[in-house]
């Protein structure tokens, strides 16, 4: 039984790591209706930039600030050369544009910083300690706190501030948003920068886990089902989704994998998400689609 709880806890903590990536997604989707597939590449780009700066002897915080500036520059470029030119296009077009973006960002990251694998040490201990017979690590607890804080801050931002309302308006109807004088350019810049920041945080935590390397961009595949269960438009949904996915996939791998063959973690979250959708077609906290005729 204690093994069960250990797996459960491990899963919940792993789920939080997924949430970190998912938050970046939700942010952009909620704010502009763009399903940003490039979030994974942004995570890679941020982590790679950071670690490369670090390796060039720059101090931690300076590297952090410089990376953040790089993310602002990236956001600016994306706004200027992609989003601005795709105003008022259907969501699917924007989605595909982000696919293109992910190619560009990955290519850029690799040509700037090379393709080697880099180790990253954040100075947070990842060694286990026993807690009531279960293993816990400081690192996981730290990651969980970071995710919690992010969710809190961002939720307040979206629901309580004027910018938040404007952002949701943009997501609904860009033409009308333009017509009422919302500055799309400015908002996009803000959102993509914040998403870049979230990407950086996720990139650092994941990078400390995996090493900073190309595979970081693949963590979006873990974030997708999280997003879908939580709902594309809900920040707190991404945490709940992360916990559900994390816990259930670990339990499934350990207890179900023994019967149907291991390695089911890749598809299990998607199947689970699919079942969830059959009950709630827009995820747990997702906004309902409005269809009036």
């Amino acid at each position: 039984m204690s093994f069960f709880f250990e797996v459960l806890l491990g899963g919940l903590l792993a789920g939080v790591m997924y949430s970190l990536v998912a938050i970046g997604f939700v942010l952009i989707y909620k704010a502009s209706g763009v399903f940003n597939f490039a979030q994974g590449s942004m995570v890679l780009f941020a982590a790679l930039t950071f670690v490369s700066l670090l390796e060039r002897g720059i101090s931690f915080w300076l590297a952090f600030v410089l990376t953040l500036l790089a993310m602002v520059a990236l956001a600016w470029t994306i706004e200027r050369w992609v989003l601005r030119k795709l105003v008022n296009r259907p969501p699917i077009t924007l989605f595909m544009a982000t696919l293109g973006l992910s190619y560009i960002i990955e290519g850029l990251a690799q040509s700037l910083w090379g393709a080697q694998v880099h180790g990253l040490d954040l100075g947070i201990n990842d060694e286990p300690f026993e807690f009531q017979g279960m293993l816990l690590s400081q690192f996981d607890i730290f990651a969980a706190c970071v995710a919690g804080v992010l969710v809190l801050v961002l939720s307040v931002f979206f629901n309580k501030t004027r910018t938040g309302i404007a952002l949701r308006a943009v997501a609904d109807d860009q033409l009308a948003a333009l017509a009422v004088g919302i500055k799309l350019e400015k908002l996009w810049l803000i959102v993509w920068t914040v998403a870049g920041f979230v990407g950086l945080v996720a990139g650092l935590l994941w990078g400390a886990r995996l090493g900073v390397q190309f595979s970081l961009s693949l963590v979006v595949l873990k974030a997708l089902p999280v997003l879908i269960i939580g709902g594309f438009t809900s920040i707190s949904g991404s945490i709940v989704g992360g916990l559900i996915i994390g816990a259930s996939e670990k339990l499934a791998e350990v207890f179900l994998g023994a019967y149907i063959g291991g390695g089911i973690e890749n598809w299990f979250p998607y199947m689970l998400a699919m079942l969830f959708l059959l009950v709630r077609p827009t995820g747990i906290f997702g906004e309902r689609q409005i269809e009036r005729v």
Partner: protein, 417 residues
């Protein structure tokens, strides 16, 4: 006179770039070294050109088709894709085109049987030999193979054909020696392994064999640490044995053991020479000079040594001129590296003694074990040989099945010289 051409299906970007850029860096540097030091092989200059595959099969095929004709009249000697997928996809083609396909340390196990696969060379070590050697090592560590009885061994493998290939052999060995084997799969790419390691924690095995690939390796080490499994009882296989696999795991990798067919480091004559002739002359292929002497780089050098040796052997028979693929193939089948020859090549201790033949396209089948000290590898064992007698019938069974499917009549190796 003339030039001998090496078509390089390299990969320097994408998820596996670290391996590709190291390997092809070493390979190219060795070829350069031969040109710079000796002016080629018996006066035949070596040339090459690269085509990026990104480790993607169809790009590899395109590269193969593009490069196989040779370059400016220089005929191609052999292809070295360093990718199981590309090797599979070009296997039929290279046989038809009579161009040797070198899959050093990897590839199709049954292609060891040269009578069915005349053009395919899994040099040094095929996957079966690899696990057999690992079990032999664990046996010696436990004080003899008979002590394996009752031991618990977990194999953590990458969820791909590559990862699974050795599972039947492990099961066979488990039966033979009486150890308890548990196979755990890590789905590709392997960036989350919490559940597998919690399982390991519950099973409390004596050893964990890591058949990883790419990001799966450092994550395995990190997660092992998190779940309290000691790194010095994890044994990495041939694709879990590079600096790029251990270093990103930081502290967690300290003590990690892995096999190797060729030690890393630079205290080998040939590497010193490469440094002198190539690297110090600013002609090195590596983007990051710090990677000189790393596992992948050295594997590239070893691969270069073997390819060039094949050309040299074949020249002895066919004359000192650029050779066709068919002729180079004969060279490969007649490579004979004993300690004396290895010393001449400056590769003593770097390359294992190797004798290839028509029937045996693997040749060596031995590995050494190395341990990570947090920043580099240290060799901790002598050559450990695989149980090749045990494996041969299995290999032949498989190759003959292939021959039947494809309607190939195996060569009679007794008649070959």
């Amino acid at each position: 006179e003339g030039e001998q051409y090496f078509p390089l299906q390299s990969y320097r970007i994408g998820p596996y770039a670290a391996g590709g850029s190291g390997f092809f860096g070493g390979f190219i540097d060795y070829l350069q070294y031969v040109n710079l030091k000796d002016g080629g092989v018996n006066g035949v200059k070596l040339t090459w050109s690269e085509c990026e595959t990104e480790y993607v099969v169809e790009k590899g095929v395109e590269c193969y088709e593009r490069l196989k004709q040779g370059l400016n009249g220089a005929p191609a000697a052999a292809t070295n894709p360093l990718s199981v997928g590309i090797a599979y996809a070009t296997l039929d083609r290279s046989t038809a085109d009579k161009l040797p396909l070198i899959t050093i340390n990897h590839g199709r196990t049954d292609s060891t049987d040269g009578s069915v696969f005349p053009y395919v060379f899994p040099l040094q070590l095929n996957p079966y030999s690899e696990v057999s050697a690992i079990i032999n090592y664990i046996g010696t560590q436990s004080g003899g193979l008979e002590k394996l009885k009752g031991k618990k061994i977990v194999t953590l493998y990458h969820g791909s054909p590559y990862g699974k290939e050795t599972n039947p052999i492990l099961e066979l060995l488990a039966k033979k020696y009486g150890f308890k084997l548990t196979l755990l799969e890590v789905p590709h790419p392997g960036n989350e392994q919490q559940s597998q390691w919690l399982n390991i924690r519950r099973l409390k095995p004596d050893w964990v064999i890591l058949r990883g690939w790419g990001v799966m390796n450092p994550v395995a080490l990190k997660t092992a640490q998190k779940t309290g499994f000691p790194a010095d009882h994890i044994i990495g296989n041939i694709w879990s044995n590079s600096e790029d696999d251990a270093a990103p795991a930081g502290n967690a990798a300290k003590g990690f053991i892995a096999i190797t067919t060729h030690p890393s480091g630079t205290d080998f004559q040939v590497l010193q020479d490469i440094k002198k002739y190539v690297v110090d002359a600013q002609k090195g292929n590596l983007e990051d000079p710090k990677r000189f002497g790393t596992v992948y780089y050295n594997l590239g050098v070893v691969n270069g040594i073997l390819n060039v040796e094949a050309v040299r052997v074949a020249q002895n028979k066919y004359g000192k001129r650029p050779l066709t693929g068919e002729e180079v193939r004969w060279g490969f089948e007649n490579i004979k590296l004993d300690d004396k020859r290895l010393a001449e090549l400056g590769a003593l201790g770097l390359v294992q003694p190797l004798t290839l033949s028509c029937a045996d396209h693997e040749g060596g089948g031995a590995v050494r074990f190395q341990q990570w000290d947090g920043s580099q590898w240290h060799v901790i064992s002598d050559w450990v040989q695989a149980d090749r007698e045990l494996l041969r019938p299995i290999i032949e069974k498989s190759s003959h099945q292939y021959a039947k499917e494809k309607g190939i009549t195996p060569r009679d190796c007794a008649k070959e010289s």
